[in-house]
């Protein structure tokens, strides 16, 4: 009846996971009960859970990503503290638990923190920057989100029921085969990643179609803001790379569930096939995460230097160059496979070449700042911190790209330090810059600068304090994923890294305080104009938060940086453009399709993990039923009357007029 599921699936004898999982579980239940008791559920259901508004979905993605980022960070704290204690000792985490922690850390950070944050930002920003009202397939967008949430939920269920994978964040066979991992950990991993992977793939389809087919009139390719270009490149990579992930994991699932021999040791299986396939996805994945971050930095540098982005076209070319070449470097993750000198040389050179594209970008950012009137706000601090950090991370990457050096450094702490250097330095710094930068657009008030700067300095210095010692430890021969060790030479560096984590923790606390303080001071921090940073692209031309329809009339784009042009013209001529003729607007209707899809996907994933076949059948039938039910609906749009549109837009224009008048006075005095 319940497959492999028994009471013993709950780790009664292991206090640490049991207590922590129970606390998380109780908080989760508590929040749900609180929502229902307080009567917030109808609001949540109507405005958020069933929402197909790209802005709402973006915010939900970000929330999911940030919560998972915290969970992944807790795993990181446990790993660093375990290694700090486990010098010629056992430490406090037994090996099987420690192995789950590093596996969960990587899985969470890449799939359930990094991806949701990046996709959330694209969701929120891209349609606004393109000057349109929604993405191509709004309900599909909601479904993507709920599938990602479903995957994240499955990973967290594994805390309490059963176990998580112990095989690293990529389930390398043959270790991940049933022979060596008979438990449910790997299955949890596989189903969680498969389900969220489908969501990500649909996001890719959605955004490529949006960016290529739905743009404001006049928004030709070379007028799109760089963030849109990087989002396009990132989503093209999703479309080309995520099916490879799906294929590789599906083969492993067939091995585990039906006794296939793709990657087994016997019957002709070839485990290096898995390594090749997974990295043919894995390397583009790095760029799926980092290219949008590059886009964010481009926007931030330009805005806070009060200059157009330097070398816009070269930036576009560099982005697409990286997009393509990222498919030609995967083998550098396993030079030690022994593919031979020539193969390794090709991939080593390709890896070094890809750094050229990034180099172009770095120079463009530096030249954007050159001669600008730079304002050192929090997003700008993160961006400058990124340049410094990413250059160092890129250099160590080029070191690792040299096969002979890689043979020495493969799977060492040097590698761990390298990829954290680039991922934290670019993706995390970029995400935090973007949060501060676009937060006022989403919520109508700015984040507190004081605590933002504390968060930056703790995060920035904490990063160096944590990972520079790990570079050294790696050069001294320390390998990754050690539960305990006996080499005295490594000890001081491991302790230094543990101290760095304390600084990072302070940064995380400052970040949370920043949010709390900002919400309490929201009236002082209110952004009335919708343009708090003197921005340049179209998202700043609408109100903060934007109305459901984003733009009362679609902007007519007549050049690059359309909003900046309009703004300068208004200031020059001291008047706003004439009031447009308002028309009723059709917007997509909300739909619980996505939520139900996520619900049944979670059910199906859980059933498959525990071999409860009938429940998996129910889930499959549920998914089909929801699909038909959705396909059957007749009315999929609702109309916002012209008067409502006019009222909203006139309020925005009034504030703008006031701003213009105030600005005129300021110019007179200047």
């Amino acid at each position: 009846m319940l497959g492999k599921l028994t009471w013993n699936a709950i780790p009664w004898d292991q206090p640490i996971p049991l207590v922590s999982a129970s606390v998380v579980f109780l908080i989760f239940i508590g929040v749900i009960v609180w929502i229902i008791v307080k009567g917030h559920f109808p609001y949540l259901w109507r405005e958020w859970i069933t929402s197909v508004d790209h802005k709402r979905i973006g915010v939900m993605y970000l929330l999911l990503g940030l919560v998972m980022l915290l969970r992944g960070f807790i795993d990181a704290i446990m790993m660093r503290s375990q290694q700090a204690l486990a010098f010629q000792a056992e430490g406090y985490l037994p090996p099987e638990h420690y192995n789950q922690i590093f596996s969960a850390h990587g899985t969470l950070m890449i799939f359930f923190a990094g991806m949701p944050i990046v996709i959330g930002l694209m969701n929120f920003v891209v349609p606004l920057q393109l000057g349109v009202r929604d993405v191509a397939f709004p309900t599909l967008n909601s479904t993507s989100f709920w599938l990602s949430a479903s995957g994240a939920f499955l990973v967290n269920i594994s805390l309490l029921i059963g176990e998580f994978a112990r095989v690293g964040w990529l389930p390398y066979p043959p270790l991940a085969e049933t022979t060596y991992s008979p438990g449910v950990g790997v299955d949890y991993y596989l189903w969680a990643v498969q389900i969220s992977g489908v969501g990500t793939l649909m996001t890719g389809v959605n955004f490529v179609t949006t960016i290529l087919k739905i743009r404001a009139p006049g928004m030709s390719y070379f007028r799109m803001p760089i963030f849109c270009w990087t989002a396009l490149a990132s989503n093209l990579l999703i479309i080309a790379a995520f099916p490879v992930l799906t294929a590789a994991l599906a083969m492993l699932q067939l091995d585990r569930y039906l006794g296939f021999h793709f990657f087994t040791n016997e019957a002709g299986g070839n485990m290096m096939m898995f390594i090749n396939l997974i990295w043919a996805w894995g390397h583009p994945e790095v760029y799926i995460l980092v290219l949008p971050a590059f886009g964010i930095f481009s926007e931030v540098f330009s805005t806070f230097s009060r200059k157009p982005l330097f070398g816009y076209r070269s930036m576009v070319i560099a982005t697409l160059f990286i997009c393509i070449v990222s498919f030609c470097v995967w083998l550098h993750h396993f030079f030690t496979m022994g593919a031979g000198g020539n193969v390794n040389a090709v991939f080593g050179i390709a890896t070094s070449v890809i750094a050229v594209g990034t180099g172009v970008k770095i120079y463009n950012w530096v030249f954007t700042m050159y001669g600008g009137r730079i304002q050192f706000s929090t997003p700008m601090l993160w961006s400058i911190g990124f340049i410094v950090t990413f250059v160092i991370g890129g250099m160590t990457g080029v070191l690792l790209a040299v096969p002979p050096a890689d043979f020495q450094l493969h799977n060492s702490m040097f590698l761990v330090a390298h990829f954290h250097n680039v991922i934290i330095g670019a993706v995390l710094f970029g995400a935090l810059a973007a949060l501060t930068y676009w937060f006022p657009k989403a919520f109508g008030f700015r984040l507190d600068e004081y605590w933002g700067k504390w968060a930056f300095w703790f995060g920035f210095l904490g990063f160096y304090a944590t990972f520079v010692p790990l570079y050294v430890a790696g050069l001294l021969g320390m390998t990754r994923r050690l539960q305990h060790y006996d080499i005295a030479m490594w000890r001081p560096w491991v302790l230094a890294a543990a101290f760095g984590v304390v600084l990072l923790f302070c940064g995380a606390v400052a970040q949370v305080i920043q949010l709390v303080v900002s919400i309490r001071r929201r009236h002082e921090l209110r952004d009335e104009t919708g343009d708090p940073w003197d921005g340049r692209s179209l998202e700043w031309s609408t109100a903060s938060p934007p109305p459901a329809f984003n733009f009362a009339v679609l902007p007519n784009v007549q050049g690059e940086e359309p909003y900046w042009t309009i703004k300068r013209r208004s200031i020059e001529t001291q008047q706003m453009s004439a009031e447009p003729e308002y028309k009723p607007i059709h917007m997509p209707k909300n739909s619980p399709t996505g939520f139900f899809m996520g619900f049944f996907a979670t059910m199906g994933g859980f059933a498959m993990v525990w071999h409860i076949w009938w429940l998996a059948g129910v889930a499959a039938a549920g998914i089909y039923a929801v699909f038909v039910w959705f396909a059957w609906r007749d009315v999929d749009e609702y109309e916002i009357p012209a008067e409502e549109v006019a009222a909203a837009d006139r309020a925005r224009r009034r504030v703008r007029q006031e701003w213009l008048d105030a600005n005129a006075k300021a110019e007179e005095f200047a």
Binding site: V132, K213, R215, S220, A240, F260, E560
Partner: protein, 223 residues
């Protein structure tokens, strides 16, 4: 020179130019400058993109098959297992079903309910025939002890051909839903878009089958 003009001054195109000269004229280049495309274009385009990703998925299984083709682990090879008559019949069924699907699309264009349903029905019938033949092939092999757990070669064979079969199955489910929709709702714009997507899907499965026919059943039996 006013501030506005100064900002636009960019003779060497070093920075971002402002509208390529900023004389108020629209120099937009590239596609999409006329604003958002129509719903029909968006749906069709999005589905094309999805199909491309599906082809990437298939290509992974093709690549795996190519690598594991010789890994028979002492078991039978393709030449010993595949039966040409069945593959020929399967190919005929699938290609004819694609033809019927195309006829259904033409009937839809002519707004003929009867012929649309008839075309779709024949499409589904031929697709079902294809699936039954495939099921028979799989069953024969498994009963003969040559299931996917026999060797890596057979694993990759079952996965690749089975993935295509899974697609056909999903296509049949979709087809049935589609026929019901046409019956109850008629030729609404939305449903016409879905018919377009279904056609694209079904023809893509055909193209993939041609590749499977070539790679698995022709090259696969070569010594």
């Amino acid at each position: 020179m006013s501030t506005f003009e100064a900002l636009q001054y960019d003779p060497y195109k070093l920075g971002r130019g402002y509208g390529e000269g900023g004389d108020g004229r629209d120099y937009a280049t590239g596609h999409g400058e006329r604003g958002p495309a129509s719903a029909r274009v968006i749906v069709g385009y999005g589905f094309w993109i999805f199909l491309l990703s599906d082809i990437v998925l298939f290509s992974c299984f093709f690549a795996t098959f190519a690598v594991l083709r010789t890994a028979t682990a002492g078991g039978p090879s393709g030449a010993e297992l595949f039966e040409p008559w069945r593959v020929a019949a399967q190919t005929a069924f699938l290609l004819l079903s694609s033809f019927a699907c195309g006829m259904a699309a033409m009937a839809t264009r002519a707004r003929s309910h009867l012929w649309t349903q008839a075309g779709l029905f024949v499409t589904g019938l031929l697709g079902l025939g294809f699936l039954l033949l495939e099921a028979q092939e799989f069953a024969t092999m498994i009963v003969g002890g040559n299931g996917p757990d026999r060797s890596a070669f057979l694993s990759s064979f079952f996965a690749l051909v089975g993935l295509h079969g899974l697609h056909v199955t999903v296509g049949l489910l979709w087809l049935g839903t589609m026929m019901a929709q046409v019956y109850f709702k008629g030729f609404q714009t939305k449903i016409l878009g879905r018919m377009l997507c279904f056609n694209l899907f079904w023809h893509t499965l055909d193209i993939i089958w041609v590749a499977i026919f070539t790679v698995v059943y022709l090259i696969g039996v070569a010594p």
